[in-house]
C-alpha cells in the first residue's frame, strides 16, 4: 500500500516539477495553504483563498521575494477535521513548504497547527479568532486577525457609549465556537460597564428560520436598546431581514461575519438601517483597502465576498514581509522574522505581531450601514 502511495507521490512530484513558471530561472518558494473550498466553511474560506492567490500573483509580478517567485500550494480542507490534518501533513512532509497560511476556524487551526509546530514550520492562522491560539500551540503559530475579545469589547463599548444602550438582547449560533465566544465577550464587557443583557437566544448552524427568535425579541417589554447578533456569514442578512420585516427597528450590532456585500443585497437597503458591525477592514472606497478591492474585482469580476478575503490577502503579504526580512529563506528564520514585524500595514488594518502568545494587536474597524452603503465610523481598540 505505502509503496503504491509513494510511487504515486513521486509521479505527482515529477508532474509538479514540470510546471512551467514564468520566472523559472529561480526555484520557487513553496508557501502552503489550507482553505476549505467545499463544505460548510467554503463560504468564508473560498474568498480567503482567492485573495491569497491574488496576492501571490501580485508579488510574483513584482519580481517575487529575493528574486524568487512564490508558489502557493493549496489543499482543500473540505470543512472536515481529518482532511485538514491530512492537508497539513501533506504540506509539511510531502511538499516540504517553508511556511503555511490557512483556515478560518479556531478548531480547524488547532487540528492542523501542532503538525506544523512539530516540524518547525511557521503557520499563520487566517481567520480563527480564539485570542490565545499561539499560546495553545507554540512558537511557530501566528494569527492574522484580532481576537474575539477585541471585536466584542469594541462592539460593547460602542453600544454603551455611542448608542447609549443600557439593555441588550443576545442572539448567537450555538453550534459555533466563534459565535459563542464573541457573544460571551460582549456580555462580559457590557455587564462590567453596568449594561444589562435582558434575554438571550440560540439558533443552530443551517437554520434559516429566525421567526421564533424574532417573536421572542418582540415579546420583550420594554424592548432592549440593542441586539447583539453573534452570527456566521450568510446568516446575518437572513436574520436582519426577518427582524426588520417583523417591525423590529432597534439597532442591530454584528461581528465581522456581517462584513459582506450580501448583507445589503440579501436583506434589502431599507432593512439595514441602524445595523452596525465590527470588522477587519472597511470594504468601502477611501478606506485604504480600495486598491485591493479593485484588484480583486479585476481578477474575479466581483468585489470581495466578505472580510475573510482581506485576511487571506494580508496573510500572504505578512509571510512575504517576513520572508524579505528573514536572514535566509528557512522556516526558522522566517518564523523569527514574523515577531519583528511591529507595524504591518495590511488591508485589514495595522498590526503588531511581536506578542508570541496572542492575536496581533490590531485596530477594529467599526461600520454603520447607511442607505445600503457601508459607512466607516472609525478604527478603535478596546
Amino acid at each position: 500500500m505505502s509503496k503504491v502511495l509513494g510511487r504515486f507521490a513521486a509521479a505527482a512530484a515529477i508532474a509538479l516539477a514540470g510546471m512551467a513558471i514564468p520566472a523559472a530561472a529561480q526555484e520557487p518558494i513553496k508557501l502552503g495553504a489550507i482553505y476549505s473550498v467545499t463544505g460548510s466553511y467554503a463560504v468564508i474560506e473560498d474568498p480567503a483563498l482567492k485573495a491569497a492567490r491574488l496576492a501571490v500573483k501580485e508579488i510574483n509580478a513584482q519580481g517575487g521575494i529575493k528574486g524568487r517567485p512564490i508558489e502557493l500550494i493549496h489543499y482543500d480542507g473540505k470543512s472536515t477535521l481529518a482532511d485538514i490534518a491530512n492537508a497539513a501533513q501533506r504540506l509539511v512532509h510531502e511538499d516540504q513548504v517553508i511556511a503555511i497560511i490557512g483556515v478560518a476556524d479556531s478548531g480547524f487551526y488547532l487540528a492542523s497547527a501542532p503538525i506544523a509546530q512539530d516540524a518547525g514550520i511557521p503557520y499563520l492562522d487566517t481567520g480563527g479568532t480564539v485570542p490565545n491560539l499561539p499560546e495553545q500551540i507554540g512558537e511557530f503559530a501566528h494569527m492574522m486577525p484580532f481576537g474575539d475579545d477585541y471585536q466584542a469589547f469594541v462592539a460593547a463599548d460602542f453600544a454603551l457609549n455611542d448608542l447609549k444602550a443600557k439593555t441588550a438582547f443576545l442572539l448567537r449560533d450555538a453550534d459555533s465556537d466563534y459565535t459563542r465566544a464573541i457573544a460571551m465577550f460582549f456580555k462580559q464587557r457590557f455587564e462590567e460597564k453596568d449594561g444589562k443583557i435582558v434575554d438571550e437566544s440560540s439558533y443552530h448552524t443551517g437554520d434559516t428560520d429566525y421567526s421564533a427568535h424574532v417573536t421572542k425579541i418582540r415579546s420583550l417589554n420594554p424592548q432592549p436598546d440593542v441586539i447583539y447578533a453573534a452570527m456566521n456569514p450568510g446568516d446575518d442578512a437572513t436574520f436582519v431581514r426577518q427582524a426588520r420585516e417583523a417591525g423590529i427597528t432597534i439597532p442591530i450590532i454584528g461581528g465581522d461575519a456581517f462584513d459582506n456585500p450580501d448583507l445589503v443585497k440579501n436583506a434589502g437597503a431599507k432593512n439595514t438601517a441602524d445595523v452596525y458591525f465590527t470588522t477587519h477592514m472597511a470594504l468601502t472606497p477611501n478606506s485604504g483597502a480600495d486598491k485591493f478591492i479593485e484588484a480583486y474585482k479585476a481578477e474575479y469580476g466581483h468585489p470581495p465576498e466578505n472580510a475573510f478575503a482581506g485576511l487571506g490577502y494580508d496573510s500572504v503579504y505578512l509571510m512575504a514581509e517576513a520572508m524579505n526580512k528573514a536572514s535566509e529563506l528557512t522556516p526558522k528564520a522566517i518564523n523569527d522574522a514574523i515577531f519583528t514585524i511591529t507595524n504591518f500595514a495590511g488591508v485589514t488594518g495595522n498590526a503588531n505581531f511581536s506578542d508570541p502568545k496572542r492575536a496581533p494587536d490590531k485596530e477594529v474597524t467599526l461600520i454603520a450601514v447607511k442607505d445600503g452603503k457601508f459607512d466607516l465610523i472609525g478604527n478603535r481598540k478596546p
Partner: protein
C-alpha cells in the same frame, strides 16, 4: 471449529508486523496519519458490520459511540496541567490524574458499551428503518450535548491538546483484535443465533434463541469497538470536535460498510480502503496545474464527486457490495480457482468457512 489452514494466520500476522515495522520506520508523518485513519475506519466499519451486517440492526448511532469512547479516553489521558482550566467541570480527583493510554482506551470502549446498553434496551425492539432513525437520534443528541456542555468538552471548538499516543502499532493492534473478535463471534454458536435473529426473528425465537438478549449483546460489543476507535482517533489527530461525529460521519460509515459488503469483514476493509485511501490519490488533481502534459483547472469537490460516482456505480453493478457477504480466506481462494462455488445468498453468509 474453524479450519482455516493452520499456517495462514501466523504468516499473515508476521507479514502485518513486518509491514508495520517498515511503515513506522520508513514513512513520513503524512503516510502514517493516512494509514492510521485507515485502520480506525476499518475498526469502525467492522464494528458497524457486527451490528448491521451480521445482526440486522441498521444503526446510524455508531458515531455517537465513537464520540463517547473518544471523549472519555481523551479526558482520561489529558495532561493534568491543562485539565483544570480547559475542562474544569469534572470532579477534583479526575482533574488530578492522567490515565495511561491502554486503560483509557478500554474505559472509553466501556463507556460506549454502557451507552449502548442504556439506549439499546428500549430502542432495539425497533426494526429496520425505525431502528435506523432512532439511532440517528442518538447521534444528534450526543453531538448536541458535546457542543453545549462546554466545561466538559470545550464545545464546538474541540478538545485539543490530546497526547499523540496512537501510532500504527496501537491502531493496527486493535484492528486485528476487532477483526479477530468479530470473526470468532460471528462464527460461534452466538453468531449463528445472531444471524438467525436477523434472518427470521420468529423462527429464531422458536428454536430457543433469546432474541432481545442476543441483539443487545451484539450491539454492545459493536459499540465497544466503535468507542475504542473513537479513542484512537482522538489520540491520532490530537483533537476531538463534535463536527467529527455528525451526519457526515454517519453516512461515511454506512457507505464504507455497504460499499464493501454487509456481513463481510473483508468487505469492511475494502470499503474503508476505498473511502480513506482513494481520495488521497485524487486530491493532488483538485488544485489544477499541469499533469502529464495536460493543463487542468482547479476542480474543487473532485474528490467528493469521484467518491459519489463510485458509490452509485458500485451499487448499480454490485448491489450487495464489492465483497458481498463473502470473506477472503485461503479456503475461498482455493474454491474460487476451482470454479464459482461460492454461495452468495445473504442468509448463508459466512457458512462457507464454517467447515465442521
Amino acid at each position: 471449529m474453524i479450519r482455516v489452514r493452520k499456517a495462514t494466520i501466523p504468516i499473515a500476522l508476521l507479514l502485518l508486523i513486518a509491514a508495520l515495522w517498515l511503515a513506522q520506520s520508513q514513512l513520513n508523518a503524512f503516510y502514517l496519519q493516512v494509514l492510521g485513519l485507515l485502520g480506525i475506519n476499518i475498526m469502525l466499519t467492522v464494528s458497524l458490520n457486527l451490528a448491521a451486517g451480521y445482526g440486522g440492526m441498521f444503526s446510524l448511532g455508531h458515531p455517537a459511540f465513537a464520540a463517547i469512547g473518544g471523549y472519555t479516553a481523551a479526558v482520561l489521558t489529558y495532561p493534568v496541567a491543562m485539565k483544570a482550566f480547559r475542562i474544569p467541570a469534572y470532579p477534583e480527583w479526575l482533574l488530578q490524574i492522567a490515565v495511561p493510554f491502554l486503560p483509557a482506551l478500554i474505559l472509553g470502549g466501556l463507556a460506549a458499551s454502557i451507552a449502548a446498553v442504556l439506549v439499546g434496551w428500549p430502542v432495539l425492539r425497533l426494526r429496520g428503518h425505525y431502528l435506523a432513525v432512532a439511532t440517528l437520534g442518538l447521534t444528534v443528541i450526543v453531538q448536541v450535548s458535546i457542543v453545549n456542555l462546554v466545561d466538559y468538552t470545550r464545545g464546538a471548538l474541540g478538545l485539543s491538546g490530546i497526547p499523540n499516543y496512537a501510532n500504527l502499532w496501537w491502531i493496527y493492534g486493535f484492528v486485528v483484535l476487532t477483526m479477530y473478535v468479530v470473526y470468532r463471534l460471528v462464527h460461534s454458536r452466538f453468531g449463528r443465533a445472531l444471524r438467525a435473529v436477523r434472518d427470521d426473528t420468529v423462527a429464531a425465537q422458536m428454536s430457543g434463541v433469546n432474541v432481545a438478549r442476543t441483539r443487545l449483546i451484539a450491539f454492545t460489543i459493536s459499540a465497544f469497538f466503535a468507542g475504542i476507535a473513537g479513542g484512537l482517533l482522538g489520540h491520532l489527530l490530537r483533537i476531538l470536535t463534535p463536527g467529527q461525529f455528525s451526519f457526515n460521519a454517519v453516512f461515511i460509515g454506512v457507505a464504507m460498510m455497504i460499499l464493501g459488503g454487509m456481513g463481510s469483514i473483508t468487505g469492511s476493509v475494502i470499503g474503508a480502503l476505498i473511502m480513506t485511501i482513494l481520495p488521497q490519490f485524487i486530491i493532488p488533481f483538485e488544485r489544477g496545474g499541469s499533469f502529464f502534459g495536460f493543463e487542468l483547472p482547479a476542480l474543487h469537490g473532485l474528490t467528493q464527486i469521484v467518491t459519489a460516482l463510485i458509490l452509485i456505480i458500485v451499487m448499480l453493478i454490485r448491489p450487495e457490495g464489492i465483497a458481498g457477504s463473502k470473506e477472503l480466506t485461503m479456503r475461498n481462494l482455493v474454491t474460487r480457482t476451482r470454479g464459482p462455488a461460492i454461495r452468495t445468498s445473504v442468509k448463508t453468509s459466512g457458512s462457507e468457512v464454517e467447515a465442521k
